[in-house]
Symmetry: C2
Subunit: 257 residues, 2 copies
């Protein structure tokens, strides 16, 4: 029986990432959160603060994935154009959301009042709902399968927290890791055949083995990660791989090195 796989894509919006000034942390953060929701991150794109770039990426991802997340570009300044671009992508107007306006009015009551620039953060693509922001003032935005989140990682985290448990997903991906002081090239055949034995009918339903080499303390090693949605199959594959490595005379460290 084939299992429904739920997928998501991320559009990271911001010249600060593409210039190398800022190291993106949201892809890893959202990916980890999605795993727990039983949703698989299938792609991520980093685009600049240009309308065409945002429109193209959001349209590609919202059409091919179950969920499309964006980060960045929802502040009060001229380079924050995410809402406008997504409205263009959807072919809807930009409107001031009354609830977002109320949230901002309250937040800025003791912080100098709601100026025109700050009111920009109450603008949403017509038809949108809000995502609660417990960390700072401006809320996130949901429109259909698009989730418009902040770019600052700890604010993004708060918005993900507000979304936890609200998105339909499948079985979470289970990942188990073992480590071994071995050059991955020495066990490449074992990895290939073991994965093939447990891959199942389709790559999505069965397990996948990832091989992540490292060089540490003057020695070569690798961690092997077995991923899949069925914990029984993941464990069986891990046991087979462990047995194969031990049969080749290698010590295996559970949990990775």
């Amino acid at each position: 029986m084939s299992e429904r796989i739920w997928t998501a894509g991320i559009v990271v919006i911001g010249d600060e990432i593409l210039s190398g000034r800022t190291q993106d942390k949201n892809i890893a953060q959202i990916a980890t959160w999605l795993n727990v929701q039983g949703i698989r991150l299938s792609e991520a794109r980093v685009v600049s603060d240009r309308e065409e770039a945002i429109v193209e990426a959001v349209n590609a991802i919202r059409q091919r994935c179950d969920y499309c997340f964006t980060t960045g570009g929802i502040g009060p300044t001229h380079d924050d154009i995410t809402v406008d671009a997504i409205a263009v992508a959807l072919g809807v107007e930009v409107v001031v959301h009354p609830e977002a306006r109320a949230v901002l009015e309250k937040y800025y009551q003791t912080r100098g009042g709601l100026t025109e620039a700050r009111l920009r953060m109450a603008r949403v693509p017509d038809g949108a709902d809000l995502i609660v922001n417990r960390v700072s003032g401006a809320p996130g935005i949901r429109h259909g399968n698009i989730f418009i989140l902040a770019g600052v990682p700890h604010i993004t985290a708060g918005m993900l927290d507000a979304l936890t448990g609200t998105l339909e997903g499948g079985r979470p991906v289970v990942a188990r890791t073992i480590g071994c002081w071995v050059a991955e090239s020495e066990v490449a055949d074992l990895l290939r055949t073991t994965e093939r034995d447990y891959r199942g009918d389709g790559a999505e339903a069965g397990v996948a083995i990832g091989s992540y080499p490292f060089f540490r303390e003057g020695r070569t090693g690798a961690n092997f990660v077995v991923r899949g949605t069925d914990p029984v199959v993941v464990d069986a594959c891990l046991a087979a791989l462990t047995a194969g490595l031990e049969a080749a005379g290698r010590d295996v460290t559970d949990g990775g090195i």
Copy 2:
């Protein structure tokens, strides 16, 4: 006179990034290196270890950018399919590169010999040249405007080092930063009008101002980054922005806070 802008895109290949297991460091690393070469990173994509995903992303980026960089998936194991996928994207065969084979033979002479799995790392899309790898054995690969680099960041760094100065670019982007203890929403108009004054005929040729808010030590602040290819225009824009902030009664910290 319009200035030729050289652009690049990155395809990061690897389930380990999309699963959240590994934090990508190559986008920021390559972006920073590109700035020095006078090449602008215009987009980046993270895709999974699936042939269709790699083919689609590489074809999109190699056609719209001057340069396409890939990272990851060039090791000896079953999940390393970058070379095969790029050969499909280009419509060429995969061949063993004799020089790469010689490099690997020498490297593995004292490391257990060149096995079949290790020989996989000598495979290239037909017509490719090699990129020197001074850090570990397997070389990177160049085919036309595609640069196939390792995924492990310090090996990627070595390959970038080998490429330094070999790619045609334009004038490097100059970025200068100032910082201010101010809520960015309070100076949004100043940012917008100052950028407009110095943007020039086209967005690419003139300057852009980025606004990056932060919350630190219980206070709200922002760093403002002025970017452009003409240092004179960047400095003039920075001076105008500084004057505007000071006229509004703000202390400005050169270099950012």
